[in-house]
């Protein structure tokens, strides 16, 4: 390993000097390109929407590039103050937030609207990774409890907005750090048991009626095919009618004739599978897996516990996006608002994701100079 590193060090490419991880970038660009095609189809072949999406893709790539230039270990200095600021902003959102689509997610700063939960998607793994990496691995139980509390605070604040999808992503980003840091299996077993015991309480007291409805709909979408079950039924019809080969680009009747709701955002996977079939889905999953593999490779090869944990968490959270989105669109999971990463239309989450990939690239390319 060391000798390989030595070789690489010797022949530092232009890409490495630019802090770009080429395999990762290749995967990302493939997904973004697919995204452009599918958004164009799902958006009713409207070029204005395509251009807006392309601009966001550009902005996201730029953000990734900038973030990649920052040495990753320097994040640690900012972890605590930014985390505290994030919690304050989340509280502010609950108190004075802007209501959109029945949830308070936006903070109106006067010149722009701002979604603090997006920042927390990056801040939480940094914070937990920083906290856990200060101590020996495997982490001691007392530290794990503190780490848990640190994860729970932003998760609950976001769940209150309510934004189940984001709180789920943030919780998993923290929990992945704890898991990768070597939490004992006994503890994991206990937590799983506690969580299942907690589920009824969650159902009875904490979940909003619309969230309960989503779960009920998930369990039996045909119960109300024109109402709450409509999304998932139309989505399954779109996927199922795609068959092996798909109906062809721009030929998906479920999407082109607008039977499929939310087709360019959360349900874009249904459009993709309708038009590209099982073959397309296989390819898409392969690209996602390749990105995950590259991310984990970067994590394993990172030289500091903090960067290992952060890289692992970012990569696995990325996969959670994929799994939750495809799972809900194909009827495996209840509907929670999670986009298909790097493909769905919608700027904010893509910028956050790409900032995360920027960090991964930084971890991958900066390591030589911190050892």
């Amino acid at each position: 390993m060391r000798s390989t590193g030595h070789d690489q060090q010797k022949q530092r490419t232009l890409w490495q000097r630019m802090h770009i991880d080429l395999p990762l970038l290749a995967g990302i660009l493939v997904l973004m390109t697919l995204g452009l095609f599918v958004v164009y189809s799902a958006g009713g072949q409207e070029s204005a929407m395509l251009i807006r999406h392309a601009k966001r893709v550009g902005v996201a790539l730029f953000v990734m590039f900038i973030v990649a230039q920052i040495p990753p270990l320097s994040y640690r200095k900012w972890a605590v103050p930014v985390f505290v600021l994030g919690l304050l902003l989340l509280t502010a959102v609950l108190l004075f937030g802007h209501v959109g689509k029945g949830a308070q997610r936006w903070l109106d700063l006067g010149f722009t609207k701002f979604q603090p939960s997006e920042i927390m998607k990056l801040v939480v793994p940094i914070m937990i990774a920083w906290y856990v990496s200060q101590y020996d691995l495997p982490t001691k139980i007392s530290k794990i409890i503190i780490a848990f509390i640190l994860v729970l605070l932003p998760t609950l604040l976001i769940a209150r907005q309510p934004d189940l999808g984001t709180s789920l992503l943030i919780a998993s980003s923290g929990i992945f750090v704890i898991f990768l840091a070597g939490a004992s299996w006994k503890l994991i077993g206990t937590c799983a048991a506690l969580a299942s015991a907690f589920a009824p309480i969650l159902w009875m007291f904490l979940m909003k009626p619309y969230q309960k409805q989503r779960v009920l709909t998930f369990l039996n979408p045909e119960q109300d095919p024109l109402g709450s079950g409509y999304h998932i039924i139309q989505s399954k019809i779109a996927i199922g009618s795609g068959g092996i080969q798909g109906k062809g680009w721009l030929q998906g009747t479920q999407s082109q004739l607008e039977f499929l709701p939310e087709r360019h955002t959360d349900f874009i996977f249904a459009v993709f599978s309708e038009e590209f079939g099982l073959v397309g889905v296989g390819l898409l999953l392969t690209v996602y897996l390749a990105i995950v593999m590259r991310g984990l490779w970067i994590a394993v090869n990172a030289q500091h516990a903090f960067t290992k944990l952060l890289a692992g968490s970012l990569t696995l959270t990325f996969f959670v996006y994929v799994f939750v989105n495809i799972g809900m669109v194909s009827g495996l999971l209840p509907v929670v608002g999670v986009p298909l990463p790097l493909v769905s239309y919608g700027g904010t989450s893509m910028v956050t994701l790409m900032a995360g990939f920027g960090m991964l690239m930084a971890i991958s390319t900066h390591r030589r100079f911190h050892a």
């Binding site: 020996d136 990768l180 996927i239 009618s241 092996i244 004739l257 099982l278 897996l289 394993v300 692992g312």
Partner: protein, 663 residues
């Protein structure tokens, strides 16, 4: 530095190994979860492909029914009597309108739509199927169509629908035979459902409600077509995928002659009455007109309650009543048939004479029944009895025959029975008999009533149609051909296999026959027919003056009926008592005598003075003059008929007004 120190004591390789193990475990998890995702999509796209493809298609593909064009109706000479004309209606799909009341108000101002129609629509809103259009205005003028088209963008959900609607160019002239079509109502729907043909009517809005339009509904309607279209989630049609054209209904050619109808209308103008003309050779109805009549077009678009009330108004003289199939006392017009019955039963011979002192008395009874001629006809034989319409002769004959023999024979001539003509509105009228009276009034038959039957009075009523049919049987010497209005059906068959070549198939109407009436002596037919010939041809006979100078050899019989019986179903109306007490004028005729081509029966209610000879016979004369070529209305091009044009371009409401104004 503390941090550095701590790092120093950490076991880096152990930590790296732990991290690598954990990462490996999560990667296995990632692989497993990816496999789950993929196998789920595999299940959807491969195992359940058929199911979801079907559901996807049923989402987007809708089968729209396409109504067939209704068959047209022509008269015997090819003059169009029932047409389909394009009509523009304003429709709305309420689900696509944000504020239906506001839009409706604005639109009504723009197009000048009455409050009544708006209210009707709002009412209809409550009981309708989702995303089904409902009609706001059934007949837009050209101006309204263009006004709406310019402003259509302001009214989403509203649209103009062009469809063919029935139009009767001759309006009231043909209504009682043709009938009319009108909107399919709940009762019609139930009936179609019971007959199992509701599917064929999925796109049809109107159905025959009266006359031939009702009787031949199935033939005229045709077969539904289907348009397979792709729709979006709003139900909007994106494109047509497949089209199965409807098969139009068959065209009908009638035995009616519209020119004879015109003559009949003119001859009956200002009177209440009916004319039926039949070709005895095949039972085809040449003319069938009841006056006053009404315009069937009013019902096609849904008649307004105001106009309907007007039709029901007693002052309008019951235009809805089809007098050609309504019972009237036949009076003396049935004397030839009674004479025939007498001859057949051997009660009289042509030579039998009676003495008529001006009255008739039953043996042992004081009451005298007077002849219409105070001083009597003196010695009367059969021929004279018909020529002079001698009542005493028939009192005596009826007395000798008895009611049972009379009614048995008269039933063979179709009285008291439906003739079987191809409209449903026919009445049986009444052929009285001992059983009938017991059934109807639970009373015994009195001999005095038999005498009245002898002169076509008492309970006896016949429809002008029955009367013309009975005379047809007489001139056919017992052969019975069921009267009918349909002459032929025309159908255009498209051969899809052979380059869509179209062939026209004309199917002639098969005349129905009933078992003939067989007399003991065939000569008796001629004796009676000769009597009728004399009645018209002999100077001074009752039918002479009406047919004086005609170019054809006619025969006939007059009749004048007291109207006491008719009053049964009429309400007492003080202002009309005088008129209602007047006699009905009746007349039957046929020509040419040697080989009859036309039989005419005329009934006119409550004539001012004179009987059938003075009032009804001239109507028959005009019909026959027209028939035998003394044509007042002659034209080669039936579509540019002088009178035809006249009626064709009249505004529908105007013709209705004019019609009632004539009365």
């Amino acid at each position: 530095m503390a941090a550095k120190k701590r790092v120093a004591i950490r076991d880096h390789s152990a930590e790296a190994n732990l991290f690598a193990r954990r990462t490996f475990i999560t990667f296995i998890g990632v692989l497993v979860l990816s496999l789950i995702l993929f196998s789920n999509v595999y299940d959807l796209e491969v195992n359940s492909y058929q199911k979801y493809q079907t559901r996807s298609n049923s989402n987007r593909i809708k089968l729209l029914p396409v109504a067939p064009n209704r068959g047209l109706i022509y008269d015997r000479n090819g003059v169009l009597l029932a047409d389909n004309k394009p009509v523009y209606s304003l429709e709305v799909i309420p689900e696509q309108v944000d504020d239906i009341k506001a839009s409706l108000k604005e639109l009504s101002q723009l197009l000048d739509i009455s409050q009544e129609k708006q209210n009707k629509l709002l009412k209809a809103l409550k009981s309708k199927r989702r995303f089904k259009p409902i009609e706001l205005h059934s007949r837009l003028s050209d101006q309204q169509v263009s006004l709406f088209s310019v402003n259509q963008h302001k009214f989403p959900g509203f649209f103009i629908d062009a469809r063919l609607k029935r139009y009767y160019p001759f309006a009231d002239l043909t209504t009682h035979s043709l009938g009319y079509v009108a909107r399919i109502n709940r009762r019609d729907s139930i009936k179609l459902e019971e007959q199992g043909i509701a599917d064929n009517y999925a796109a049809t809005r109107n159905i025959g409600k009266l006359g031939l339009e009702r009787y031949y509904q199935d033939i005229l309607h045709g077969t539904i077509g289907h348009q397979e279209v792709e729709i979006n989630n709003q139900g909007r049609v994106i494109r047509t995928l497949d089209f199965t054209p409807p098969v139009p209904g068959k065209d009908l050619t009638l035995t009616l002659d519209i020119e004879l109808q015109m003559i009949a209308k003119r001859a009956l103008s200002g009177k209440r009455g009916a004319v039926v003309a039949i070709d005895p050779r095949d039972g085809g109805v040449l003319a069938m007109y009841s006056n006053p009549s009404f315009d069937g077009n009013l019902f096609v678009h849904g008649i307004s309650s105001k106009k309907y009330k007007k039709l029901l108004d007693p002052k309008s003289n019951k235009p809805l009543l089809n007098r050609t199939v309504q019972g009237y006392p036949p009076a003396s017009t049935i004397k030839p048939l009674l004479a025939l019955t007498g001859l057949n039963e051997g009660i009289i011979t042509p030579e039998t004479e009676i003495y008529d002192p001006g009255f008739y008395q039953l043996p042992g009874i004081e009451t005298k029944r007077r002849d219409w001629k105070k001083w009597g006809h003196g010695k009367v034989n059969l021929t004279k009895s018909l020529e002079q319409s001698c009542n005493v002769y028939y009192y005596d004959l009826a007395y000798k025959l008895g009611i049972t023999r009379i009614s048995k024979m008269m039933e063979k001539f179709g009285f008291g029975e439906l003739t079987g003509i191809d409209i449903h509105e026919e009445s049986r009228a009444i052929m009285p008999s001992v059983e009938w009276k017991r059934g109807r009034y639970n009373q015994n038959w009195y001999t005095g009533e038999t005498l009245s039957v002898g002169i076509g009075q008492s309970f006896w009523t016949v429809t002008p149609l029955q009367l013309s049919q009975a005379i047809s049987i007489l001139v056919n010497k017992g052969e019975i051909k069921v009267p009918h209005l349909l002459k032929a059906t025309t159908e255009v068959v498209t051969d899809t296999a052979n380059n869509n070549q179209q062939t026209t198939i004309v199917t002639d109407y098969q005349v129905d026959e009933k078992p003939p009436i067989v007399l003991k002596d065939k000569n008796n037919w001629d004796i009676v027919l000769d009597g009728l010939h004399n009645t018209v041809q002999k100077v001074g006979a009752t039918g002479y003056s009406a047919f004086k100078g005609s170019k054809y050899d006619a025969a006939g019989k007059t009749g004048s009926a007291q109207t006491a019986n008719l009053a049964q179903d009429e309400k007492y109306d003080a202002t009309k008592v005088q008129e209602n007490k007047r006699d009905n004028a009746m007349f039957i005729a046929f020509a040419p005598y040697e080989s009859p081509e036309i039989v005419v029966a005329v009934a006119i209610e409550n004539v001012a003075k004179g009987g059938g000879g003075a009032n009804a016979a001239p109507v028959a004369r005009q019909i026959m003059d027209q028939y035998f070529g003394d044509r007042e209305i002659i034209s080669q091009d039936k579509n540019k008929h002088p009178l035809h044009d006249n009626v064709y371009h009249q505004d529908i409401s105007q013709s209705a007004n004019k019609n009632s104004g004539n009365q």
